[in-house]
């Protein structure tokens, strides 16, 4: 889910930067409005490290392989801090490992940041769920849904920016195969988010960001 440099046309990359800047501005505004904006920084910093390292964990899904995204977990754990944390993680991934690119940093930020904020919104909307099974199901939907939303955004942006000289049917088939390969990952990340949030609800409920 990391689009590298040179894949998208200039208009889409500039649009990605504009959208990512707008989303980040909204998130920073909401963070600043909190009683203690610095209180969430230690957790955001640690989760940024987790997010950064997660892209190196490859899961073989024959005939290809996928890597962890963790955008649902980022959103559920960090709330408004998720967007800047994801952008910083993406910057490190692009500079150090060539995962993604610098010109596509904005687009990749939107692809992963928007699902994270959606997962945050879902967790916040369902925070009143008292039944453990209902809360676990909501957490699973947040984790799995974030992966599926990221895959959908990735595919739509790629298809929108497909150059005319390429074999469109071959590229569409490759994108579809990649999207299908992410279905097991969505399931796995949904279970991870459900397990982590379930553990935190029992031990440290204040760790779950619902503001």
């Amino acid at each position: 889910m990391h689009i590298p440099d040179g894949i998208l046309p200039l208009g889409l990359t500039l649009g990605g930067f504009a959208a990512a800047a707008g989303m980040t501005a909204i998130c920073l505004n909401r963070i600043e409005a909190q009683p203690d904006p610095r209180a969430g920084l230690p957790r955001a910093s640690l989760m940024t490290a987790v997010f950064f390292a997660a892209s190196l964990v490859h899961i073989p899904v024959p005939p290809t392989s996928v890597h962890l995204l963790l955008c649902g977990l980022m959103g559920a754990m960090l709330g408004w801090y998720a967007m800047p944390a994801i952008l910083i993680g993406l910057l490190f991934q692009a500079v150090m490992f060539g995962h993604g690119g610098l010109t596509t940093l904005g687009v990749n930020g939107v692809i992963l940041g928007l699902p994270a904020l959606a997962a945050f919104g879902l967790c916040r909307a369902l925070q009143g769920a008292t039944h453990p099974a209902a809360a676990a199901f909501a957490s699973f939907v947040a984790g799995a849904g974030a992966v599926l939303l990221a895959v959908a955004l990735f595919a739509v942006i790629l298809l929108a920016g497909l150059p005319g000289h390429l074999d469109a049917s071959a590229e569409r088939a490759a994108i579809l195969a990649l999207a299908l390969a992410h279905l097991p990952l969505a399931l796995a990340e949904g279970l991870v988010v459900a397990a982590v949030l379930g553990f935190l609800r029992r031990t440290s409920p204040e760790m779950i960001c619902v503001r």
Partner: protein
């Protein structure tokens, strides 16, 4: 009196003579000969792989000539092993090669000189050893942990 068999032979001989004359007038035979000109030339071979070392099988390749980096000079597809070969023409300069598949890909460059042969450059950061990757992850993780500890300490000091 010629025998019946001699009568039948005369038209056959005449026909054979006509065919032979036509063949002689037609000149040398053409169309079945084969000629092979063998010349040595230079080619660029691409080996496209993901960072997991899997080949980029059936990925789309676009080659850009040095004097027109916006218009594709050639498009093609890698084989199942992720390989693609093309022969640049006489234009000296930096040729760009893009390999992409499902939104993933990389650019590679080859400097073709008029007399100096080729120099290959790859934009990918592939080739990092596992220990190098681990060290880089550890450095970033340590930076994040340090940041977390700094802000945690600052928050505690403010509370105190």
């Amino acid at each position: 009196m010629p025998s019946p068999s001699a009568k039948a032979t005369a038209p056959k001989l005449a026909t054979t003579g006509l065919v032979a004359m036509w063949l002689l007038a037609a000149g040398p035979a053409a169309g079945h000969g084969a000629f092979v000109d063998v010349t040595e030339t230079r080619a660029v071979a691409i080996d496209a792989r993901y960072d997991t070392d899997e080949p980029m099988a059936k990925a789309q390749v676009t080659v850009f000539a040095p004097d027109d980096p916006a218009k594709p000079w050639r498009v093609g597809q890698t084989d199942t092993a992720g390989r693609f070969v093309f022969m640049p023409d006489d234009r000296a300069g930096r040729w760009a090669i893009q390999v992409r598949q499902a939104g993933h890909g990389a650019m590679g460059y080859v400097d073709v000189g008029a007399a100096a042969g080729m120099t290959l450059t790859s934009s990918a950061t592939a080739g990092l050893a596992p220990m190098q990757r681990l060290l880089m992850v550890a450095c970033v993780a340590w930076g994040c942990i340090g940041t977390a500890l700094y802000f945690r300490r600052a928050t505690r000091a403010t509370v105190a």
